[in-house]
Point group: D4
């Protein structure tokens, strides 16, 4: 049985009732629904529908991340003995970073969030070096010029996954400068697409899973 | 003491004697020189220089990967109790894939190479699923449309690092189509820049290091 | 007399009444109106106008494809003794795939639709190989990284027309990654512009027409 | 048994002796070697190697197309009862057009080549309309602004495969303008990547195969 | 005194009252206001303002071109003894083509408009050759693949100004394919920016002015 | 009989002997050969071949423009009663500007060349205003930021054809910045592709032809 | 203590109440809030919130620049003995130019604004040469082809900071042509991102600060 | 008399003898020749020519910067009482950084060069903060992801001019990622084109000139 990255429903571009339908089915078949990029209408529709059909389901919305998660009472969340660090600089990084945090968490990893760490004030970065080194995998979200993952990867030996964020204006905005900078980074890191918090969190979750499994005595991957 | 990704010398754009100078210094200070993107002139110059100054150094060139590695006799290579799989489809992937293999290996990981696995003949991919699942991290190199990492990530729960390779001709050639496809992948994977075998191997090595450390009894990261 | 791809009216960017006017004229002169990229307002206006002026016309809207087709009672649809397969992966491919299906069908081909075939779950693709091989021409719609036409073209000898779909976010979104991947495909296939279901269906219809004509005993193209 | 597009060896980027090795193996295993994008050194090396090892092989080089084909004496070429038309405007289209012609021919189709048909002198196009309509599939090569496939597709009901050619200078040169124009064409046609004569010829060959099979009495595809 | 291209007010991005203010000033100082890219609000505001302040001004709106022209009663329009032809293919070309027509006309040229001339039905183009040759300068508007100016420039010796129009969808849409095709044209023509009807009409007007001045007996440019 | 832009042979990408062959044929059939983008080998081959076959032909090479022109003794050059001004800023503009000058001259126009007019020293531009105004059409070549045609078009009512030149380095080099600037110009001008001196000269020649014909008493275009 | 570029709040993409919250905090902690890219809702929310909490604060909105500045009564603005010139061509440059003016002013520089200086009417530029030379640093805003900073930098020895403005339509619009032109300028100037009035003003302010400090007798930078 | 940025000769794309000619003229008329982007042949030709014609000239080549400077014995270099700091990370930044250093120096500024300051080892950056703050203007060269100017601008109040360097491979290489990152920087800095050391040095020189003039007692700019 595969125990990797969970399925998620991308609400963006779907109607509230379509999303409610898909989320209900997911709760019924997989015991869990994860819905990303929800707006208030999507979240409301899902919540009303689950209230009606599955009043015992546990429904949570992480608003700044635009993610909704519903667990059936019987759902047994995976447990992973490893930590994922989620690093972000400012408010505009909150949505993708939060999306990554939810996914890694739903995959069973312990999630440590480290916010307000910007490359323009290095002292904040240096203050957090110990926390950064304590994680088994790091997701580092950054918009504008996207230099933060490079700076952090230069300070730690933890695998860093760069998460470019779409913001800014003008030339190479919408995350293109950040993506380019992470791909051209003079340190070692891998990257995901712009705003792809789901993918970054999933990849960090897979690393945590591998580390956690190794940490369990048998030393064998499940 | 940092024990992560080793320094490497990028020979491309340097003269043979500059490279020989840098490699000798690396052998003297770090006990090891890793030189990427060497041509025959670079490799010859390094070898002659080390023959003269450090005749006891162990110098190896992986020709298809254009990488040269020299170890001082006193060099103690790191040992990591984990495996990195390096997957490639065809001859044009050999250089970046080989570069990744050398780096992961120099970081102490056991490296398994799986070649001739192309998306146009799925049966070869399916034949290798067990080998793919046995690795702790996978680097999957692919040029042209770059679909291979997507197909493989759909089959395994191992973290997959896509390595886009510059080949082909016409629109979106030189690896751009492959990079775009990996970033837009409908599965979970992270990616590195086009032809960045050094980065892909380094990132896979960092994951292997984390897993290997966890596999050692204490369960603490070094 | 030309019997090839029928004229269609592109509703997008026209007002409902302009579209109603053009559709009525088409019904009057050609016996048929095909309107693509209609929204509810366009469809309503056409339907009301035809109800008034041509109450005997047969008007159908394929909602998920945003296509409206109206036939005058005297319209004699072409008959083509050949099959076009339309393959899609998910809900976001529905509009262009449906547009292609309507056009091929209006050109007289038998249309077989094969949905929910995604590259991330290869087993679904393999399950459909016989159906895929049974078609005389295939339109394969795919968004994101657009790998599906490549995978299918590797399994069949039927001509495959890749139909890139605009979805996703971030770098090379809006179908550019899918288009690039189809152009760089390591198998043999041809492609059309992003979301150009009309063109893909028309080209598949032309192939079906040629095959169907050959299948009629005389072996001559009409 | 698959009888579709034959394997081909892309000489570009390989050494003459690598190409000679691959060609010899192809002759031994498949009875035929098709090598595209050969220069004089590649062709010479293949010819010398086959002269030595397989002196009975039939080796032909189509110089303007940079394609070499070798048949073992036992090789039975496929026979397809259908015609592929290859249209080109000028000397700079010769290589991709010739590549397409060789592939379609090796797939068994009858190939009709129609040259010197440029959009700037329409009368030449109009003179060839009957020849264009007689083909079962058309490959239309065009560089610069790439308008020729659009003009031709407006005149015939044969499936047209646009083959953009890399030439010109300045903005959108190297075939990008031609590719864009074919994708945006206001007629129905499909396209392949810039200079991808192999793909265009292969796709035309697949259509010809389907038509030819239908033309054989049984009306069933093989 | 300069008698060349008149000043115009670009309404797009300005408020109705700003535009009304600027138009009134233009009528007062230059005797004429030309306002391009007006919507209904802009046009209404200008008309009300001029009704109030300059009730004797002659105000005309060319709706399909989104241009408003107001003449003070004292305004003496320039007279140019030459003809500008404005060619367009379909409804989506109407706005830029109409903008060009208004400007050339306001510069004093006789304007001949030739519509519904599409490259997909060559016979319409050929039918109009005499009219095309009769003009002293031609503006040829075209969207999608933008082949029309190339085809026309191959038929006439009149200077052709290509006017790329933003329409279509997918790769190289919004007029980029049309612009690229005109720049790469295998005939001789010059081009202006996408949708720049004002510039195309102004340039054609300048040519007409030069020709018209030459046509006046003295043979001297004014 | 068409009397417009003459045919020219583009030497770039052809072998010296191919070019010599084409040039000889042109001299024999049209009485004139114009060969653009010749290097020394092309020019030498043409000259030797014409010396042998047509020793009475008049062969001239404009070296800084890389253009060769050969006239048969019977060739009667067209005469046009109008002037084309060719403006350039510096040495890197010489090739396209010279190409334009040769073509306009071969079309019969009087050509005035105005060099060393750069936007960074406005006084030079202002000094030449009278010469600029005296021309019937202006070709203004400019590389780097390409501001010169904009500045000049602001000073004259002559039709200006911007000719972007490929030079510079870094972002938007190879003439892309110059082309963009001309398309976005806040004055009225039309443009041609980067380095397309042939097209700019041809378009200026067509305008000169129209003006010249009007200047002849009858006032009718030929 | 750092006395350089002040912090600013980018209102775009934040809700009015978020902005009001951040502005209030800034007034409380730094004695000043600068908010850029405010719309009426943002400005209203900030004003109401400060009216309630800090009725003695001095709040000003520069509407054409979309900037709001609030000073606590205790705030001591920096004083810089130097002048920044802000140059713009037209109304569409007003927002970024105004943003630059506010920032330079808030940094303590004397700000001279010079408007309606367009490259298409050189005489206006020449009229202002003395004013331009009197400044210690110049910010020159320009959209469309962005030639103005190049023309001005050719006339003065003051450091010029080009500020590309997003306007226009068609190819290279949204400021890309202007940015490219400034980067490729044949004079010496530096540039900032498109519409980055904040950055241009900040950089000019830093230069003014350095000059002003030098002007104070001690000749030491603070 | 203008005393700003000196003229320089760009050797790249010119023949050695053309460059020698231009350099000699510059020495004769301006007392100084600055030649950038020289290779050995250019440098040799200039040196031989000046040895012959102006044996008393002082000729220096800064090899790593590919710049040659020649002073006539009568040349009086400008003196500027201010310092320009030139910062670079690695060997590939040497050429543009050196070019900037030479220009600033020739403009009379004191130049301080600070090398081997890379963003991947922050400690080196922090070590240099005092030196960085001591300069009146900073040129910061950086290739790959170009993060260094951002990091430095966050630490100092000196005006920073980012100088993107073309290196790296893959997506956004050749300095595009570095340029994008500097334009999108979350700190305040201005930038120049990729590899435009001449422009960066010239702009820094202009700032130094302004500061130096202010530092002279009168406090007036010359
Ligand atoms: N093939 C490679 N791809 C990416 N980075 C590399 C490669 N080889 C070496 N590097 C890194 O590039 C940096 C610059 O190398 P160098 O130019 O030799 O100073 C070093 O940090 C190396 O670790
Ligand atoms: N969805 C579509 N995609 C591409 N072309 C279309 C589409 N719908 C209609 N067309 C074609 O677009 C052309 C222009 O349509 P119209 O704008 O309605 O005059 C016609 O030749 C149609 O056949
Ligand atoms: N330098 C040039 N730039 C653009 N078009 C050219 C140039 N030289 C020749 N041509 C045209 O390019 C076309 C193709 O030339 P060829 O490749 O010689 O058959 C002919 O119509 C020529 O008139
Ligand atoms: N208009 C602007 N352009 C560029 N940067 C800005 C602008 N306004 C504010 N900033 C800076 O953007 C950064 C992020 O602002 P915020 O999103 O409010 O946290 C701060 O460092 C501001 O100084
Ligand atoms: Mg690290
Ligand atoms: Mg997986
Ligand atoms: Mg196939
Ligand atoms: Mg057709
Ligand atoms: Mg013509
Ligand atoms: Mg003008
Ligand atoms: Mg200057
Ligand atoms: Mg700073």
């Amino acid at each position: 049985r595969r125990r990797g990255v969970p399925e998620a429903i991308l609400a963006d571009g779907k109607t509230p009732s379509e999303v409610a339908e898909l989320a209900t089915t997911a709760v019924e078949t997989a015991g869990r629904a994860i819905v990303t990029r929800v707006d208030d209408d999507h979240a409301g529709a899902v919540q009303r529908r689950l209230d009606a059909d599955h009043p015992d389901a546990d429904v949570r919305v992480r608003t700044r991340a635009n993610v909704l998660v519903a667990h059936a009472p019987t759902f047994e969340p995976p447990e992973v003995n490893a930590t994922v660090g989620i690093v972000s600089a400012g408010t505009s990084d909150a949505i993708p970073a939060g999306e990554a945090a939810v996914i890694a968490s739903e995959m069973g990893a312990t999630v440590e969030e480290i916010h307000d760490v910007g490359v323009a004030s290095l002292v904040r970065v240096l203050d957090e070096v110990d926390a950064l080194r304590a994680a088994d995998a790091l997701v580092v979200a950054a918009g504008r010029e996207g230099a933060l993952p490079t700076v952090i990867a230069g300070l730690v030996d933890t695998p860093v996954i760069g998460l470019p964020v779409s913001n800014g204006y003008g030339h190479a905005s919408d995350g293109e400068a950040a993506l380019s900078g992470m791909l051209q980074s003079c340190t070692v890191l891998s990257t995901v697409n712009i705003d792809a918090g789901f993918v970054a969190g999933g990849q960090a979750g897979l690393i945590a899973r591998a580390v956690g499994a190794a940490r369990e005595r048998d030393g064998e991957r499940e």
